[in-house]
Symmetry: C2
Subunit: 200 residues, 2 copies
């Protein structure tokens, strides 16, 4: 199993054009742009997809389910009670979860050596759940992921599971978790920059 | 970076002796023994560590933290309200979380080819968050992990965040999540067995 350098390079070029396009539209999270550009600077890597971390309210039996699940709210920045109170006051079809996910970045590399270099950088920055997902002719896919993840059960059907007066506190904890993720992203940028210097 | 076959084989032998020992003591989860043995049967793989999935009550600021965190309760099987009610009635130093973690298995392989074969098997069985963590002379480490993970906030300091009368319902959801993990483990065993047949 070896990566086809021609196919891979073409994908990197396309991904870069897409990145520039997303930047112009303002489609990308500000929090993550520098990290993506730093990865693109590396000869043997580019980013496929990314999320700077988000808070989601989802209606589903379990928070990891995609089928029969509805996203009711999504934001990549801290939230306030007034933003979500109307949603919480609606009955849930199944169960309502407040989910916080830390940053996730999918990187494609040309070589395994580069994949392991990226993994080392990621670990150093606190992206402890990172790993190589797959290898094909198109490239080696590396997932960078922290352990930051909350899934707070808010509601089952139309009944609250939490104390209404504790909502502010729960939101505070969710926001702090989100921010912790953004801090890791900053750390990732730092470690990436110093690793490029060392290798360059 | 290449695995030293001699070192790796020695580690596999030691790990197998340890597995047999753990089996005799009854230290291992019944739910996972067959999977571990199936992996050991493969020429180029063995398991380093494993957990069949568990429910934990932890006192910590965030459920993913290790520092300043205290495990108050741990069980690899479904729980009942009476088992945990005394714990929940205690005040928390920081926050009290009911955490459900799906099965996790760390496999060491001799070759990258085998690592990717194991990854393919894992994906097929619903271990969607699996990946290669590292490569060294000692072996290639592959983590098999599902997306099953709950962290329900129960308490902040000495105040409940959830409605007391909803505890039974929350425990029911946690138990069902745990069992979903065990079902994936059974699926993993099936896929492993049929993949060994195909390769053999």
């Amino acid at each position: 199993m070896k990566v086809d350098a021609r196919i891979w390079l073409k994908r990197k070029e396309e991904a870069y054009a897409k990145l520039k396009e997303d930047l112009e539209i303002g489609y990308l999270d500000e929090d993550i742009i520098d990290v993506l550009e730093e990865i693109f600077k590396r000869d043997e890597a580019f980013t496929v997809s990314s999320c700077s971390g988000r808070i989601v309210i989802v209606d589903s039996q379990y928070p990891w389910e995609r089928k029969d699940s509805t996203v009711l709210f999504k934001k990549h920045q801290p939230i306030t009670l007034s933003e979500i109170i109307d949603i919480i006051n609606q009955p849930a079809v199944s169960a309502m979860w407040l989910v916080v996910v830390g940053p996730i970045i999918h990187v494609s590399t040309l070589t395994l050596r580069e994949a392991f270099r990226i993994l080392k950088v990621a670990r150093e920055a606190g992206f402890k759940h990172s790993g190589i997902l797959s290898v094909s002719r198109k490239g080696i896919t590396v997932e960078l992921r922290t352990g930051i993840r909350l899934a707070v059960l808010l509601k089952v059907k139309n009944e609250l599971v939490i104390n209404y007066e504790k909502l502010e506190e729960i939101i505070g904890i969710a926001n702090k978790a989100l921010i912790l993720g953004k801090v890791r992203l900053k750390k990732l940028l730092e470690v990436l920059k110093s690793s490029t210097l060392k290798e360059g």
